[in-house]
Symmetry: C2
Amino acid sequence: MKKYQQLAQQIKDQIELGVWLPGDRLPSLREQVTNSGMSFMTVGHAYQVLESQGVIVARPQSGYYVAPRQVARTTPAPAKVMSDETVDINTYIFDVLQASCDASVVPFGSAFPDPRLFPLQQLNRSLATVGRTVAAMSVIENLPPGNEALRHAIARRYAQQGMQVSPDEIVITAGALEALNLSLQAVTGPGDWVIVENPCFYGALQALERLRLKAVSVATDPQHGIDMAALKQALNDYPVKACWLMTNSQNPLGVTLTPEKKRQLVSLLQEHNVTLIEDDVYSELYFGRERPLPARAYDERGITLHCSSFSKCLVAGFRIGWVAAGKHARRIQQLQLMSTLSTSTPMQLALVDYLATKRYDTHLRRLRRVLAERKQHAWQALHAVMPAEVKIHHSESGYFLWLELPEGMDASVLSERAIAHKISIAPGKMFTTGNAWANYFRLNASWLWGEREQQAVVTLSRLINEMKET
Amino acid sequence: MKKYQQLAQQIKDQIELGVWLPGDRLPSLREQVTNSGMSFMTVGHAYQVLESQGVIVARPQSGYYVAPRQVARTTPAPAKVMSDETVDINTYIFDVLQASCDASVVPFGSAFPDPRLFPLQQLNRSLATVGRTVAAMSVIENLPPGNEALRHAIARRYAQQGMQVSPDEIVITAGALEALNLSLQAVTGPGDWVIVENPCFYGALQALERLRLKAVSVATDPQHGIDMAALKQALNDYPVKACWLMTNSQNPLGVTLTPEKKRQLVSLLQEHNVTLIEDDVYSELYFGRERPLPARAYDERGITLHCSSFSKCLVAGFRIGWVAAGKHARRIQQLQLMSTLSTSTPMQLALVDYLATKRYDTHLRRLRRVLAERKQHAWQALHAVMPAEVKIHHSESGYFLWLELPEGMDASVLSERAIAHKISIAPGKMFTTGNAWANYFRLNASWLWGEREQQAVVTLSRLINEMKET
């Protein structure tokens, strides 16, 4: 093959791969000469050939463009399990999450609240402000444990609740998920036993699998939360190293433990010398009069690593969370330094700037009010339309509803059928290692209720009715 | 203890912990009442007590403030190894890196180039632009594999070099470090053997330790790079799963492999069915006429995961890198989804916006020129001042110099003494598992050479002379 043919083929391959899309301007002849090291003659020849084949079009005074295609570019097929991979819970969760990323899907399965509830203008002002400083471009000052002013601001929010957390034990992370993963890694080694709730946040199950830990699932219910007798049993029966729990607005159930139960939990874990990894990302989203305390508030012996973030109550896209890690803070910094190095500097600085405006609490009050209203609205709409056999569990916090289908019905089948109608839900299977919650699903009720949402609920109801008949 | 005494004690504890610093305004009486649920009377009493003890001061019309201290707040002591931890390479690296974060230290040990060389104004403009959209606050559209437009822009830069990389195999990560860690995790399990260079980027050693992998170190030298005979031997002797290498401007040596050697490397690894994890973060910083290709360009069988980032050539603080992962792309997305979820949305969008301005190549040309000049300048300054026994290895790329002390001299001792004089260096010990490079250190030459830098080199020289005498 001659040089010009090689270049022409290379460009064709790139178009095939999607590097250049129909309508894209290709590098100019001059640029191509520089890039390829070939002569003007060769490059010109290659472009002529491509033009004659209808692959590219020349526009005078403008350059060469990829020709439009007859057939529109197909959107990728819904992700399938690849043949060389085991079908595991991670692949399942991955597929469900990927499905809800499509903007055309009604995101009832999403884990994140409607981003339109976040204070866009103020955050943007903060972003623009911090971008003006050379500090925003540097990573050095914000290496683990992270920006000092941000750690201070977080410590002060703990202090508002009467909790004593030093800025020095706080490590800023890429959302609560990194905080939880680093915490787990800091206090366990492969093969160790860890207690999780059943059902629980799927991130816990994934972290355990990734770190090759063994899970002890402890029964948890929508009314009362974790079963203390079962927890006691588990602690007696297994050499447990850590316990990963949500004490406030548990995901997916929404249940918040009573102060008394939190106290019992901490003292039980202290007795067994087990570390508590507390995932507390929803605690700002209470509907009552008072913000519930985390279990950490009842822990006087420092067995709790308290993880939280701004992702559910201020901004998800920034990916900023933290862990108040007590004596494990240094180990967690080390682990972070060797896995992601640190979180983005402008994101940390923008949050510092935003928090300094003191608008955060005002925003949170509004957010709680709107989420409570929307959840109530969604509950009513579901109640009016859903088949009578479907139970809707409603909790006094957060933005999730937990729906119970008739026994024997599989919510993951409903999920598959719903996705075909461009509706996502989060089936119970995502939140458990066993089959206990197969007939449940989680529904994100943070969206403004409109025609689209109403229609989606009607469709879900129809699909459930169809499943009943078969 | 009475309620007001409890509150007073709590606030004192918070001041002790550093939650409130001298001069900070405390929550107002009204705020404190809301936070604590105590009465105005009780809170007022607590504040009075604190005021009478001199812990806080009241300023009329303004509020209560933490009293200034007599003794300035001590800065934290240099990190020491904690008693419950093993002294390992990670702790050592961590301590050295933490030391260079202090703004008062001359950062010869830093891994990052001078952030003042980055296009601050344009990046800020991009940041401000993307912040105006609600999309910047959302995480959904940018979940793994990451923003589509950014993946396209990266694929096009590969295409500029004549490489065929599809946007679909690119995963956006928190810097190259996350890309490398996820790549390693995707293709190995605990106990597997992995080849690294000796010396190599310390991040590789840390990743191996964190993932409980076994390292085979292969000799690498400043002139010719990795020793191919030794590599062959290693591949024959160990059941190696992966090979983590830098083929362009190797860290710390600065050596770039010849195209012929890259080709040999790829074919040798293909023969042994070993995955190549290629760390290519410095390849934009060549000083010659042409950008060197990575080994990935010679790989027709898809054994290479090519990792890179914008951190060394555009902006470090954003923490954006990527991996062109071929058939491993899906697995890497899964691993990311369960460890950090995704990278910051505004950071991804800001880079898309910046890259669309087409100023990147202009910036890179300037950056390369300035780095070459500064490195040359640093080399001359060192040459003029350093004891004659010190060899300075100079490479035609990047911003590191590799200094060789007389045999038997320990650069980590020099490092300790230099830190006492507020100068950081990166001793050879950081880059190796053995002792082979104990008398070497890496020096960051990206800084504008001024009085401070000159003085630091004089001090280093004096310290070396003192070490010679003992």
